[in-house]
Symmetry: C2
Subunit: 471 residues, 2 copies
C-alpha cells in the first residue's frame, strides 16, 4: 500500500485512528501533548512542518496548523517566524537527573598544561581538511558508499604505501596495509591476530604505556610483561628472558623517555625476533617531527616479515580524525584484516579518501613543514625557560616529537610536586603513569609541548621553576 | 638546534653529509636515484618542490634544480609545467607481484542484484552531508580536535537521544548513549560488556546473522546458540530452554524473515529477561522504513533497564559513514564505554558533529521522507513483477525495510537456482546464509530491493521468473 494511506507519522511515532469516535484533530493534539508531558518530546525539540506532517499522516495541512496553533496557545509549542515549530521552554518536565560518575570535568583553565601526546590542535589545517573531504565526496563512486573493503579504501592504501616508502623507508605495499582508527585500534587488531597465531605473552617497554597495553592484551587473552628501556632502547637481553613472542616498541622516539633506538640495538631486536619466531610491533607514533639528527627509517623497512608497524595521524593532524594504519607482515595480514572486519567492518570511506587526497596533493607534507619550526620553537622556549627558572634540571629525550623528560630532585615526591604545580595553575604529568609498577622514583616529569604555545611554556615554567630546580 | 641545520629531509628521508668528499649535489642525485631504483620511490610519486627541499636541506635552491634537471635528463624524473616533479614512467622497477588471495573481485555487471542489506546508495544526500561536515568543521571548538569522550560527542548524543525518543519512543538519555561505528561494533561492544558481567552464552535468532554473531561472540569469549523464529518473532520458550542470559533480536523487522515481533511476544521476551536477569540486545536496524502499518516503537522503550538497543545510519544514509550508536541500560553502560575506549578511543569527531547537524537541521528527516516513497515504489514493482513472471510465488516480510522473503518450490535446490540466475545476469541470495546450520531447505530467497532500482527490479524478475515460479 502506498505510504499516504498509513495514517501514521514515522517522524513523531503518532498514529491516527479514522475509525475512532474522537476527531482526528483531537487525537493529534492529545498525542503531541502526551508526548511532551511524558518527556518523549523535550524542550527545543523540532517538530515536522505542517506540510510534512500533513503529507505523512494523509490529512489536511490546515488541520495540523490548527493543532499546532492550539498547542502553541496552551504553551506546549513555540514558533518563531521563518523557523521550525519546537517544544516550548517550560512545557516539558525537567530531564531526569544526570546519571552518576562520569569522568571528572576538565579542570579550570591553566596557565600552561604540559600534557604529553597531543599535537597543536589550533594548527589543525581545517580548511585543507574540509577541501579534501569535499573533493573526496565529489569524486567518490556510488559503489564506494557501500560497506567497503575492511582493509581500507584502495586509494588511501596506495597513497599510504608510497608515503611510508618515501618518508619512513618502509617496505610498504598497499595489500599489506590495513587502515584503522589509530594506535589503540592498531594494538587491539595486532594483539588479536597474535593470539590467533598462538602467541601467549606480549612484552612492552617500561616505561611505556602499561595500562593501555595491558588492557588491549587482556582483551585478546594475552599476558603482558614489561621490559626495561635503557639509553639505547628496549633491553633485548631482558626481553629474551621473558619468553614473550611479541614486543611493542617505539624505536623512532621511545615513549616516554624519548630515546632513539640505537642501530646496534635495532639489529639485536631483529635477531631476537628471527631467533624466537617472534613479532615486533613498531609504534611509529611521532617520527614526523625530528629536530637535530638525521631521520631514522622505520624498523619495518629492515625486517618486513617480522614487524607490524602502526601509524596514525593523531600526532601529525589531530586525534579527533581517528585514522591510522597497520603495515603487516604476510603471516599476520590476513588475521589482522579479519579482526578489523569483525570489529567495525572498516573505517569511514569519506575520511579515508580525504586523507588520501590530502597526502596526494602535497598539503599533508606542507602542514608538517609548517609545524616543524613551531614545535622546534616551543622546544627551544622550554629549554630556555628551564635554564632560567630551574637551572640545573636535566632534560632528555628531545631529539624528536614534542615531549621531553625532566629529571628532578624532588624529596617530596611526584604527587606532591604535581599538586603544588596545579595549585599554581600549571599542569604537570609524572613518569609514574608510564611505569609498569606505577612507581614514582626517581621523580621524573613527561613535559609535553605539542599543544602548549611558546608563551604558555614560558609562563608555566616561570610559575613552577622553583619546584623543579635541584635543591 | 634549529631545523635548518639538520641537512636532512624528513619528506624524502635523505641525508647530506657536509664532511664528505662527495659534493652535495652528487650525494643528492645518488640518493634520489637509489630511492627510485630500489623501489622506495615509485612511478608517479610526487617529489617536494625545489624550494621546499632546499629549505629543509639547508642548501641552495639552484642546487636542487640542477639535481632534478640531471635526473630528468637521465629519465628518472618528469616535470610538467605548473605541476610537481614526479618519478617518471619507466624509471622505477615494476611493483612486486600482488599478494595472493584477496576476496574475489566484484562480479561482472548484472541486470539486477537483489543483495539485501544495502540502501539506495545513489540517493545518498552527498550535498547535505558535505554541508553538515563543513558546518561542523567551522563550529568545532579547538579542544574537540583532541581525543574526545569515547562515548561520543555530547552534541550528537543529545541529538540522538531526542531523535530516539521522538521517532522510536525509546527511553533515551545522552549519558546512556555510546556512539559507535555501526551494528558490527555495537555487537562487539555489547558482547564484551556482557562477558565482563559474567554472561557465558548469548542466543540469536535463527534465521538471522549466524556467522557475524558467532564471530563477535567468539571474540568476547561467549558461546552463541541459535533460537528459532516463528511468525510472531523469536520463540521465547525455546530461548528459555537454552539457558542463555542474553539474546540478540530484531523486533521492528526481523532479519531476514521480515516478521514484526507481536505485542504479546514482546511482553513475553521482557518477562523472560526479568525472570533470568538477562539482557536483550535490540538490533533496531531498519525501523526507519515502514509501509503499511503503524510504526512500532523500540522494545527499549518498554524495558530500558534490560535492553541494549543498537542503531546505525548504514540503512538510513550509507554504510560507508560507519556511524551508529548503542543505547545501554545503567548496568552495562560503563563496561560498554570502557570497551569503546579500549577498542578505538571513540569515533571521529567531525563525522559525529556532522550527523548531529544533519539531524538537528531537519535534513535527515527530509532524506528519510524522500526515500520512503522510493522504496515503496520498488516494493510495489517487485510484487507486480513476481505476480507477472512468477505467479504463485509466496512473498513475506514486506511490512518494513527493503527486503522480502520469497518461498520457492525449487526441486534443484538453492545453490543451483542461484547459479542459474547468475548465468542470466541476476544476483539472488539464499536463506541458507542466514540459517544457523547453513541448511538450504525449504528453499527461500532474501530479495533485497534497497539498492535495486525499479527498472532493474522488473528486468531482473522478468529474467528469472520461470526459475522462481512454482512447478
Amino acid at each position: 500500500m502506498p505510504l499516504e494511506w498509513s495514517g501514521s507519522s514515522p517522524e513523531l511515532l503518532l498514529t491516527l485512528d479514522r475509525a475512532s469516535a474522537e476527531p482526528l484533530r483531537s487525537q493529534l493534539e492529545r498525542q503531541v501533548r502526551d508526548a511532551i508531558r511524558g518527556g518523549r518530546l523535550r524542550v527545543g525539540e523540532r517538530l515536522p512542518s505542517s506540510r510534512e506532517l500533513a503529507r505523512t499522516l494523509g490529512i489536511s495541512r490546515g488541520l495540523i496548523q490548527d493543532c499546532y496553533a492550539q498547542l502553541q496557545a496552551e504553551g506546549y509549542l513555540a514558533t518563531r517566524t521563518g523557523s521550525a515549530t519546537r517544544v516550548a521552554a517550560g512545557a516539558a518536565p525537567p530531564a531526569p537527573a544526570a546519571a552518576p560518575a562520569r569522568p571528572a570535568p576538565p579542570p579550570a583553565r591553566l596557565i600552561a598544561d604540559f600534557r604529553p601526546g597531543v599535537p597543536d590542535l589550533g594548527s589543525f589545517p581545517m580548511a585543507d581538511w574540509l577541501w579534501a573531504v569535499r573533493e573526496a565526496g565529489r569524486a567518490i563512486p556510488t559503489a564506494a558508499l557501500d560497506y567497503g573493503d575492511a582493509a581500507g579504501a584502495t586509494a588511501l592504501r596506495e597513497v599510504l604505501a608510497g608515503y611510508l616508502r618515501r618518508v619512513r623507508a618502509a617496505a610498504a605495499e598497499p595489500d599489506r596495509i590495513v587502515v584503522c582508527s589509530g594506535h589503540a585500534q592498531g594494538l587491539v587488531l595486532a594483539f588479536g591476530a597474535l593470539a590467533r597465531a598462538g602467541v601467549r605473552t606480549v612484552a612492552y617497554e617500561d616505561p611505556g604505556g602499561p595500562r593501555s597495553t595491558a588492557a588491549a592484551a587482556a582483551w585478546a587473552g594475552l599476558d603482558a610483561v614489561p621490559v626495561p628501556v635503557d639509553e639505547d632502547g628496549v633491553d633485548v637481553r631482558a626481553l629474551a628472558a621473558t619468553g614473550a613472542r611479541a614486543v611493542v616498541v617505539t624505536p623512532a622516539h621511545q615513549w616516554p623517555t624519548g630515546v632513539v633506538m640505537a642501530p646496534r640495538r635495532r639489529l639485536e631486536l631483529i635477531a631476537w625476533a628471527a631467533d624466537r619466531d617472534a613479532v615486533i610491533i613498531e609504534d611509529d607514533y611521532d617520527a614526523e617531527f625530528r629536530y637535530d639528527r638525521e631521520p631514522v627509517g622505520a624498523l619495518q623497512g629492515l625486517a618486513a616479515d617480522r614487524v607490524v608497524s602502526i601509524g596514525t595521524v593523531s600526532k601529525s593532524l589531530a586525534p579527533a580524525l581517528r585514522l591510522g594504519w597497520l603495515l603487516a607482515p604476510p603471516s599476520l595480514a590476513g588475521a589482522i584484516l579479519e579482526h578489523k572486519l569483525l570489529n567495525d567492518r572498516g573505517s569511514p570511506a569519506l575520511d579515508q579518501l580525504a586523507l588520501a587526497r590530502l597526502i596526494e596533493s602535497g598539503r599533508y607534507d606542507r602542514h608538517l613543514r609548517r609545524m616543524r619550526p613551531v614545535y622546534a620553537a616551543r622546544r627551544t622556549a622550554l629549554l630556555a625557560a628551564l635554564a632560567e627558572h630551574a637551572p640545573g634540571v636535566r632534560v632528555t629525550g628531545l631529539d624528536a616529537g614534542f615531549h621531553a623528560v625532566a629529571h628532578l630532585d624532588a624529596p617530596g615526591g611526584e604527587a606532591a610536586l604535581i599538586e603544588a604545580a596545579r595549585a599554581r595553575g600549571v599542569g604537570l604529568h609524572g613518569m609514574s603513569m608510564c611505569r609498569a609498577d606505577g612507581g614514582d622514583t626517581p621523580v621524573q616529569l613527561v613535559l609535553g609541548f605539542g599543544n602548549t604555545g611558546e608563551r604558555a611554556v614560558r609562563a608555566g615554567i616561570a610559575a613552577v621553576g622553583d619546584l623543579l630546580a635541584p635543591r
